[in-house]
Amino acid sequence: MIPEIGLFVLFLALIIAAIQAVVPMVGAVRQDVYLMALGNRLAVIQFFLVTISFTSLIYAFVISDFSLLIVYNNSHSLKPLLYKISGVWGNHEGSMLLWVLILSMFGAALAIWGKNISPTLKARVLSVQSMIGVAFLAFILFTSNPFLRLNPVPSDGRGLNPVLQDPGLAFHPPLLYLGYVGFSMAFSFAVAALIEGKIDDKWGRWVRPWALAAWVFLTAGIALGSWWAYYELGWGGWWFWDPVENASFIPWLLGTALLHSSVVVEKREGFKNWTVLLAILTFSMSLLGTFLVRSGILTSVHTFATDPERGLFILLILFVTIGGALGLFAIRAPIIKNNFKFAPVSRESALLYNNLFLTIGCAIVLLGTLYPLFLEFASNGESKVSIGPPYFNITFLPIMIPLVAAIAVGPMLSWKRGVIGELYVKLLFAAGSCLITIFIVLILVPEGPILAACSMGLAAWIAAGCLIEWASRIRLFNSKSITNTGRLIKSSKSANGMTLAHLGIAILIVGITGASAWQKEITTSMAIGETIKVNNYSLTLKKVQIGKGPNYNLERGTFSLIKSNNSSIIMHPERRYFPVARQATTEAAIKTTLLADFYLVIGESRDTIDNKNEWTVRFYINPMMFWLWLGVATMVLGGLLSLSDRRRGISIPVRKKA
């Protein structure tokens, strides 16, 4: 009975969404206060209905109701509760429902908390947001009904892919979707502004928190996925340039550009058309990502059980929403005038530079992801290429270097025109710390590579630049000598958030550099009591135990890792075998220290010729991994700090959600 309720309220939600897509818009055109206010209520009702539907699906998973096809296919009665729940979005139908839930949640959040937004714009935004809702609700109801019944009822389910039974992956999709779908707000704001034909500083101020919230979620979501890949896949790597990873990275790059360009709209009423275009493109890339994952046209490690039919439906949605928005842009953009000036050395120039490089970076990732498809299309299937990490490392990374290097300079520049003389002194200091860092790294790690030392220097340059800027901002505030320097940014949570996020990039670079340039790896087989040596460390296999988990069997190794100074740690890597899925997973033992991760994986055992039992063992030393995660966490914190700025009207919803 409960699944039927879930399906029924989903239908109701579709009807409500359809009304919401029209009524507030009509209200805005007619300047009818009542109709516009109705949009707020409808948005909340829509969210409420989708929540009921989603809850009923969770309920079906929790009680293991195998009369539902989706539960039978993705769950098992022996599964731990957490994974029963995460099984809801571990499949196509459920994840689409989560998608729509988040979409309607953002709509409701705007309806409830967006009180300071002009009523006509708000009505239009809610209307556009609901149009997307209609499309996806229809998509679920007509192609991906999660509430399909099964007859006869099977006695038990087929289980969830064991690789997915992991806390990291349980929370990765919701966060990622909060990010993806969060950009729908920026999209709706952009389309609403185009319809209204008016973009001003207020629009910039209103749209920014939503974009920032989406960015925070997307950053956290990508990081969580990457962290999962790091500890679960057992290859010591954390980013593989897989199409599905790229699909989340492309909107991230554009979203980051959007955050920066919307500042110009807010402060200077400039880059208006560009910001609107970015808002549209960011969300379209989110949709494209959704499409790529589900259509099965690309090969990826992460694809769901794919279905071209559904892919076509998503393409149709893409075509209508994004095509409509871009068409609107082509027609309406000329009436939106930018009327501002700035000097070649100014904050505006820096943000322009930032946007161009982020956009190029995004274009490269998009090109590398779609190129195989385009080539196959152009050659009628005769010619295929693989585009993997080496391509992106060569093309994407060099583009990012001038971008991140500018982080040190950009925030120091004042709006309209920068004072160059004062800049020199500050930058000299940053350049000094960069050189000193390179020098120190070369002494500490004489075997190089020199590029790694330079990269560490880059991180120091950024960090020093950020800190100098921050310090001077604080001092200026105290001495109240604002005018004689032209540095006008008040020390606010928002500015501090920016500094923190930029520092996060510097820390991230330290992590990326260490983990990729200085990684040490050894793959070998070990018998009990055997010891191998890597650098100053010796690794000994003490014993291997056999045991049982809730729904798997396991082999658990006990290793001791001894450093030359005799401090020793114990590590327990595991190999798990899931009988239901007939699949084995590796659980790496990771010992994190400030300077390096020790990463140990145990594989299958075998008998050697002299009848000794040996286990395959992979041992990695990943230097600076901790800093990689710390860097991303700092970026997220920076975003949150900036969001919590009281001067931004709409900061509350994010805190409620978290």
């Binding site: 058309n273 275009l277 549209i280 493109l281 379209s284 494209l288 499409f291 259509s295 099965g296 046209i297 690309l298 090969t299 071209p308 039919e309 892919g311 076509l312 393409l315 893409l318 075509f319 994004i322 095509g323 871009l326 068409g327 842009f329 082509a330 953009a333 000329p334 779609l370 498809l373 385009f374 196959e376 299309f377 299937g381 005769e382 010619s383 295929k384």
Partner: protein, 181 residues
Amino acid sequence: MKRFILIIPIIVFIIIIAVLSVMTLQTKEGRNPSIVPSALLGKEAPNIELPMLARNIPGGFKGSDLVGRVNIVNVFSSWCVPCLAEHPQISWLATNGFPIYAINHRDNVSDASNWLKKHGNPYVAVGFDPEGRASLEWGVGGVPETFIINASGIITYKHIGPITKEILKEKILPKLHEAKR
């Protein structure tokens, strides 16, 4: 000029959507993104020596044996389920006058011999490739795969995956006749 710049996004977008739609439609009609055309098409069959599987099974061949007539080379394993599914089609080809050589991929002697005993041995010769080393020379990605080699020993066609009845009729037979010309 300005107008034109504003239209660029939607043009690029429509091109992307068009290509994606075509590819999605092709995927719907059976395009498999992970199947790649062989690099060996139009080249001579690799001349690596494949040893015989067992004394009572005719076998052992190398690329240069495959000249003088149109031959088929089929890669199979006893542990491969789709290989069993295509076995009737392979046998049909053999009884209808097409000589088929086999590469027994990553198998062991007893399993492979029993499998052939149980399901019939349609092969002119079975080459044993327990480590998959010879398969690498043939550019094999997995089992089953089937090659068509013309009379001059040139590989003219490669099919990846099991040969169903439809594929036999629509692809393999026409390609065999093409190779004969």
